[in-house]
Amino acid sequence: MSVRAALPDGVRTRSAAADDAAAPTAHDRASTLPRGARGRGRPGRRGRRRIAYLYLAPALGVYTLFVALPWVHTIWLSFYTWDGVTLGTWDGFGNYRDVLTDPTMLAALEHALGFIVFFSLLPIAIGLPLAAVVGAAGGKRRYPVSRAVLFLPQVVPLIAVGVMWRWMYAQNGLVNRILDAVGLRSVTRAWLGDFTWAYVAVGLVGTWVMTGLTLVVFQAGIQKIDTSLYEAARIDGAGPVREFFAVTLPGLRADIGVALTVTVIAALASFDVVYVTTGGGPGTSTIVPGVLIYQLAFTDGKVGAACALAVVLSALIALIVLAIGRLVREKP
């Protein structure tokens, strides 16, 4: 619906026709469902519901055992002071107090939130126009090589990505050599060791990785947009830019929601890239919750504190993802 609302007047009638054309299809599909599935308020409902649970049981069992219970266990551990080996002691909300007052923990949460710019906003801002060019449905060229190259960062394991960028950012690495070659010798530095730039440098690695993902999501989305909308826009004399803002962007609303959700989770739960490139340094300038949780649990012997930070982090992620869901939901 919002697709239509955002269109220029001339296009409106055509797109409405397209929606109407789609409606009977949906209706047909609904009518092919077994009759019982649609019957509401009938006496056999309860019995069927029990059977439905039976179908759910295997998946629910696995989910409970491997996702729900460990999660509950994490919450449970977060109330203890525990070194991972010897007997733990009950600490109530002590660990949570630490998470919300310890400067390093707060810095880590702050850095994670900042990474949303690098892992989500930038990749989406870059991915949208790229997808419009590379994935345009009516376009003559399909750019298969470019698409593969742009998606490549997604295929490489993040540890390898980290190692590679560590070399690139080194004092005599590729980044500095390129800067040197274009006459910017004065700005070269060991990027990952610089208190001001290490954070940006690590963030840009995230941008590099995530852009491929957003591109693929948007490209798939573009292919689902009705081509007649583009034809209509062209008949009305819209150029590629106008076409992008009038047809592509509104048509990708849901896909942007998906990309935003996935990348925001990647930003907040980032671990691999930071761990491999800087380990949180210099000082604590790139520390993120993921690395801190690992450090607390495995080297510092503070499993309770690690769990508390993990719980706070997952709550934060859940809240933000929920908010994104609300934001991008199409209004009825």
């Binding site: 080996v85 060991a190 060791g193 689902k224 210099p282």
Partner: protein, 457 residues
């Protein structure tokens, strides 16, 4: 056909089902917490190993086919070479060595030791919580049976002594036996030194004068990679020479009342900060890792490099005949030599299946034959250091000489990094801040002391 809601994250749900899922979750939590009333859910309660086994020990090698399982994070070939030699001595014994990268090894060590498949020997990088959790055997009976106290220098064994809580280090029961030592000292580029008219410094004042001289000639005085916090080598070397090994060791072991806020501590922090500020260390030190700094040093970037004996063979290969090694000199020519060092040490897990055979292997590590193997694979030998043959013209000869001098002067100091579980992290981040000019030397020392206080209270 578009299906906009299929992938969206907050598909609106009927109210009733939301309530139901909340109830299910509540029931789940209730079920789990209900368990707690029955006991056994307090973390760590289930997995407690009974107190360390004691009882008769034997120095006899078992007859018949037997496999000794060894786990460790040592990858320079020492354990493997020792194992091969041990197998040759005892043909019925097979030694199965499992190597794991040091970070993964340390994080999984407690789980490895408490599992039913615990190895017969496990490398310890630090005592950590292994002793407190009763995961390793008290080696005192074996030390007595094999008379290690007489054959191995006390300073070397002391590094693996602790009370039964594993808190107070440096004295008490023996928990692991060394298989070879590493020692940190100063490498220097002989060609560069000759070019600058610099001889090997014999006092700390001379060392400082050399730095000034190198800088004035437009050369880098000290190569440093601090991405993983190796400025701590520079800091601790200065502290050790200025304060003396005994005082430094006491702080490293957490002896009550010790402080890093000493003359040596202040000197170390101030020098490190000043050298970084004056460009005596590379501008990109915080962004360079240790292997990177070693590579730079071998390419002629840097007159000095603070690094361990573990890199001696590689450095020698990259710049043969062109590199020397010395312990950082003290105030006078006659000041006792100090060196930061620790050993690759093996403990016998409480759950080991062949503890007597494991102890026999530990004893073999202190033999003359083992000494040559240890030295040949990059470690300083546990005993019989005087018997090892060093290749002529190699920096390994210098390292052996330095090791012998440190031994004579009783100057071996454990790594500050192992003082508490968190000290390595603190030394890394505080060291980066000090080198980056973000904290003052006094703040740096305060951070270290605060960590020490927390870990040793």
């Amino acid at each position: 056909m578009r299906t906009p809601d299929r992938l969206s994250c907050s598909t609106p749900r009927p109210r009733r089902s939301a309530g139901r899922s909340t109830m299910t979750a509540a029931a789940l939590v209730a079920a789990v917490t209900g368990l707690s009333a029955c006991g056994g859910i307090t973390p760590g309660a289930g997995g407690q190993t009974a107190a360390t086994p004691t009882g008769s020990v034997s120095t006899a090698i078992p007859t018949g086919k037997v496999t000794l399982t060894v786990a460790g994070s040592e990858n320079s070939g020492t354990t493997k070479a020792l194992a091969a030699a041990f197998e040759k001595l005892h043909p019925n014994v097979t030694v199965d060595y499992k190597y794991t990268d040091v970070n993964d090894y340390n994080t999984s060590l407690n789980l490895t030791l408490s599992s039913d498949d615990a190895p017969d020997l496990a490398l310890l990088n630090m005592i950590g919580t292994t002793v407190k959790a009763n995961l390793v055997r008290d080696l005192d009976p074996y030390a007595a049976a094999y008379r290690w106290n007489a054959s191995v220098p006390s300073t070397e064994l002391d590094q693996w002594r602790a009370d039964t809580d594993g808190k107070r280090l440096g004295s008490g029961h023996l928990w692991a036996a060394p298989a070879g030592f590493s020692v940190v000292g100063v490498y220097y580029d002989k060609k560069l030194a000759a070019e600058l008219g610099i001889a090997k410094p014999t006092t700390f004042a001379e060392f400082q004068a050399d730095l000034v001289k190198a800088k004035a000639a437009g050369r880098l005085p000290i190569q440093l990679g601090n991405l993983a916090g190796h400025s701590s080598f520079v800091f601790q070397s200065i502290v050790d020479t200025a304060d003396g090994a005994a005082k430094s060791t006491a702080w490293a072991y957490g002896v009550p009342g010790s402080s890093i806020n000493t003359r040596g501590g202040t000197e170390g922090a101030q020098d490190l900060a000043t050298w970084a500020k004056k460009g005596y260390t590379p501008a990109g030190a915080n962004g360079t890792d240790l292997p990177g700094s070693v590579a730079n040093f071998t390419k002629g970037q840097g007159l000095f490099l603070f690094d361990g004996s573990w890199d001696a063979a590689a450095i020698n290969k990259a710049m043969p005949g062109n590199v020397g090694f010395f312990p950082l000199p003290g105030a006078t020519v006659n000041s006792p030599a100090t060196g930061i060092g620790t050993s690759v040490a093996y403990a016998i897990p409480a759950k080991a299946k062949h503890p007597d055979l494991a102890a026999a292997f530990l004893n073999f590590m202190g033999s003359t034959q083992a000494a040559q193997i240890e030295f040949g694979t990059g470690f300083m030998p546990v005993t019989h250091a005087d018997t090892v043959k060093t290749p002529r013209g190699s920096v390994l000869g210098d390292v052996a000489t330095a090791w012998a001098k440190i031994g004579q002067d009783n100057g071996l100091v454990p790594f500050f990094n192992n003082s508490t579980a968190t000290m390595n992290t603190t030394l890394t981040s505080a060291g980066q801040e000090l080198v980056g000019g973000k904290v003052t030397p006094a703040q740096y020392l305060a951070q270290l002391q605060a960590d020490w206080q927390k870990g040793h209270q």
